[in-house]
Amino acid sequence: MAKKEYSFYPGCSSQKLASGSNYQTAVDSMCDVLDIQLNSIPDWNCCAASIGYAEGGELPRLALSARNLALSEQANPGQDVVATCAACWLATRETKERLHQNDGLMKETNEALSAAGLNVKADQNVRHMVEVLVEDIGYEEMGKHVTKPLDGIKIAGYVGCQTNRPFGIDGESFENPKYLDKLVETMGAEPVDNYDKKVSCCGGALAFSEPEKSQALIKDIIEAAYDGGADMIVTPCPVCQMNVEIYQDQINSKYKTKFKIPVVYYSTLMSVAYGKSAKEAGLDGLVIKAKQLNDIASK
């Protein structure tokens, strides 16, 4: 297949020594195998995620994402914008759509951007990395590169919220999307059937401000994975990954549970199945180690 190029929006958590840096490591390894070239948007900024709204009004938030789109149009014209972070994808795509729905907002946003000599048309598609995989590459092609199938591992596909709602992936249902299960299967592992918490919320940013309420949600997400016989959980979202992984000790002491389940990214699974080393797959970035993946990677 010919090399595919995208205008890449990496996002804050992907940066060196940031909370999702291991996600980026695995994405780079996965893209290397699939011959995907990610051209970073120069000088990209934060999208304000879904929590900047208290101080940042509608227009300042739109302006943030519009700045990224404007820089992308200059540097990578004609390429689709691709994000690996759910919130980055959502905020950027929402901005594109709202600017096109509302001429007034388009005009005002451009007025704001002109303060830095920029202008936006918002004419590039804004997509999530899993859309690139599912729609542009396809399961069959993804399967062809598997050299170390993830035999004997059972995985709960935790899709979460924003890599699903409100835009959806590949036209799948909001209530029971299948793309993550299909990806797991394509890598030779076994997806948990009927994982009932697959699209439940982990609390998102409110895991910080409302820890108790959020951890109650996270507990249910992990419990359902164990109920389904899962060895590990896979997710496409850096916030889901962090929330479901790092609070397991706190949840254990509060709820007298004994959770210790690894939470990995789809790109982690793919990198290992594609024969990359543990380091290249970002396995060293997991707080709860995925021993089965380490074993396969070191084979």
């Binding site: 208290a54 101080e55 302006a63 830095a116 709602r165 707080v287």
Partner: protein, 205 residues
């Protein structure tokens, strides 16, 4: 305006008009048909004093004070369940953000609401250098209720921080700098201009 429209106009309550004029996606509020699917779909549903469909009816009933001082819309986790399920296609998540932002901007949102505080910290953090400084965000979060409670919270979170540090997902040196955009002055100019335009659009009620 026809005589008929003018007559009707007198009976419309002004808070609904205020929300339509000043709140993000506020012109959708009148479309709510009170089915309650949003409230039943919300992961934090039990924690809302007034779930979304109730807030919509309260807006139509002119309960300005009760709505804007409520902690309810600060319970939104941005999961988008309500948007995906609303039969009338109201962008409920955005309306909740809009109501929260409006109450915050008017200075009448509940003062110690933790998500209000965190959301402001998050914005201030990212707006400074254009990218989130995760370490500073964490530190200011732990200390948002004062020094003593901050030490307690920080100590409780210490094992998590150490785990993140050991796996190279947290950088203590970020406290003294950290990631940012190159064109900070351009970014600040954009945000300042956007805020000015938005403030000028705000209607008085």
């Amino acid at each position: 305006m026809s005589a008929n429209t003018a007559a009707v106009e007198r009976y419309r309550n002004s808070f609904l008009k205020e929300v339509e004029a000043n709140v993000e996606e506020g012109d959708w509020v009148k479309m709510c048909m009170q089915c309650g699917v949003c409230s039943g779909s919300c992961p934090f549903g039990p924690h809302w004093d007034h779930p979304p469909q109730e807030l919509f009816m309260m807006i139509r009933a002119g309960k300005r004070e009760e709505v804007l001082t409520s902690s309810s819309m600060w319970m939104c986790t941005s999961c988008y369940n309500c948007i995906a399920r609303c039969p009338r296609e109201l962008p409920i998540t955005h309306i909740m953000h809009g109501l929260a932002n409006y109450a915050h901007r008017l200075g009448i949102a509940p003062k110690n609401q933790p998500t209000r505080k965190f959301a402001k910290m998050f914005w201030d953090n990212l707006a400074k250098k254009g990218r989130v400084n995760e370490l500073k965000l964490g530190v200011s979060l732990y200390f948002m209720n004062g020094f003593v409670s901050g030490i307690k919270t920080a100590l409780a979170a210490l094992p998590i921080g150490i785990g993140m540090y050991k796996t190279k997902r947290l950088n203590p040196m970020e406290y003294f700098g950290g990631h940012g955009v190159k064109d900070t002055s351009g970014l600040h100019a954009i945000l300042k201009k956007a805020r000015e335009i938005e403030d000028a659009k705000m209607k008085k009620f």
